[in-house]
Each structure stands twice: as structure tokens, then as C-alpha cells.
């Protein structure tokens, strides 16, 4: 695939940045001629990934979250969300629907939602080093509306 544009951003893992980060990625992504639904999918996916960094990666301490968003000529958008937090020892388990390691009001649906609203989801993680979640979405856009 041929890259045509890229956004990189780094911000603190403060929950107030959840809204900012999904809006920023959506604003960048909107250069592709996508539907309101597709834009909503991207916002949702970014929100889940960033929340994971805050709640799990850094467990409410403050670290940096790195987002790279790449737009490809073929109408594909790739968003990668990375933290240098605690990492996940069992990625397979973490991806199971309704599994949560923290309880409370967390639903355990983060990865399920990310999978559902994207076309490809890749999770790379190493305990003590951090986690990178990469999602790809094929933008069909307004042509097929």
C-alpha cells in the first residue's frame, strides 16, 4: 500500500485526553471521503485503545501515549496506539469478550469493540515494555452509501 499522509502525536495518559485523541484522529482521517458512520467507527476504536493505555498500560499513573495515523492511497487508514506501560502477559485472554483484569465498571469489551469496528486488529505486547495496538480500516466512503 502507498502512504499518502501521516499524523504522529504524543500526549499524557490523562483521561481528559480520551476525547481529544479520538477527535484529533477523526479530524485527520476525514480527509478520506468517509461516511459519518465510518468516522464514528474510527472515533470508537481510538477511544477504546487510548482508554486501555490509561487504565491498563499505565494503571492510572501518567505516561506517554503515542499515536501514529497513516492514510493510504487505496483508501485504507491505519491507526497505531502505543504505550510504554506494564504490557499484557496473555494477549489472547485480554482479547476475550467480557474479560477484564480490573473489575469495577469496566465492561471487558474494549478489544471486542475494536475488532468489530475495524477490518484488522493487531496487538503486540511485552510485559514491562508496553503494548502497541494497530488497527486498519478500509474506507468505502460515500460512494457506496
Amino acid at each position: 500500500m502507498k502512504k499518502i499522509n501521516q499524523l504522529k502525536m504524543v500526549f499524557d495518559s490523562r483521561s481528559v485526553n480520551e476525547s481529544f485523541s479520538r477527535m484529533a484522529v477523526a479530524a485527520f482521517a476525514s480527509q478520506l471521503d468517509m461516511t459519518v458512520e465510518e468516522l464514528g467507527d474510527i472515533k470508537t476504536v481510538v477511544s477504546e485503545a487510548v482508554t486501555n493505555c490509561i487504565v491498563h498500560g499505565y494503571s492510572n499513573t501518567i505516561g506517554k501515549i503515542y499515536i501514529t495515523c497513516t492514510v493510504f492511497e487505496e483508501g485504507v487508514i491505519r491507526v497505531s496506539v502505543r504505550d510504554r506501560g506494564c504490557g499484557i502477559s496473555d494477549v489472547k485472554k485480554a482479547r476475550e469478550p467480557l474479560y477484564t483484569s480490573v473489575g469495577g465498571d469496566r465492561s471487558g469489551l474494549g478489544f471486542t469493540v475494536m475488532e468489530s469496528f475495524s477490518d484488522k486488529l493487531l496487538v503486540r505486547s511485552k510485559p514491562g515494555v508496553g503494548t502497541t495496538v494497530t488497527i486498519e480500516k478500509i474506507i468505502k466512503g460515500k460512494l457506496n452509501d
Binding site: 483521561s15 480520551e18 476525547s19 464514528g40 470508537t44 469478550p97 465498571d105 465492561s107 469489551l109 469493540v113
Partner: protein, 114 residues
């Protein structure tokens, strides 16, 4: 205020406003829980999503938590006016087997704009 409460007879409606995510959920939760605990006569708690402009899986956690509280007090929960997307997210949890959930008639998103 992220939540407006309306109480009549045995029904308490909590109109949730704005974005529901991990950052905003605690304030929304506290407002709803206070209303549930104060209005002892309310038998049915309706969580109304018509004024919600964005929701991720934190919205599911919010509903699940309120469901547990309501049940423990002998009350029931209903979730109303979800967008198609939010309805889909809710259904991933299986919450519809515990509490009725319904979509908006007109699937427009409140304040739908970037």
C-alpha cells in the same frame, strides 16, 4: 451537568448528556446512583441516551453497574434511545438478556458533527 433526572410516579428517567467515555463515566455514574438512592419510590430506572453524542464500551460498564445497583434495591432498569452504533455495542455485552434496551426511532445522533 452530564445527567438530568426526571421523576414521576414510580419511574425515574436519567437523561444522559454529551460524551460517555472512561473520563466522563464516573460523574454520570454518581449522578444516577444518587438519584436512585434518593428516590426510593422509583421502581423503574430508565437510562435515556437520546442526548448522548458519543459512547464507547464505558457506556456498557455504566449500564451494567447501574443494573447491579437497581437489582440490589429491588428495582428494574431500561435503556432507551440508543443510536444503531451504541445499540450494537450494548448487545456485545449481552445486557439485553437482563434489561430491555431500545433504539431511537430516528437514528440521528444528538449534536452529530465533528
Amino acid at each position: 451537568m452530564p445527567v438530568t433526572i426526571k421523576f414521576s410516579g414510580e419511574k425515574l428517567v436519567a437523561y444522559i448528556q454529551g460524551e460517555v467515555d472512561h473520563h466522563t463515566a464516573p460523574d454520570i455514574r454518581d449522578a444516577i446512583d444518587d438519584a436512585i438512592l434518593v428516590n426510593e419510590k422509583a421502581k423503574t430506572i430508565v437510562l435515556d441516551f437520546s442526548r448522548v453524542s458519543f459512547m464507547d464500551s464505558s457506556g456498557v460498564g455504566l449500564v451494567m453497574g447501574r443494573y447491579r445497583l437497581a437489582i440490589s434495591k429491588g428495582k428494574s432498569i431500561a435503556v432507551e434511545n440508543l443510536t444503531e452504533r451504541d445499540y450494537k455495542i450494548m448487545k456485545m455485552s449481552g445486557i439485553e438478556r437482563l434489561a430491555p434496551i431500545s433504539r431511537k426511532e430516528n437514528n440521528g445522533r444528538f449534536g452529530d458533527a465533528l
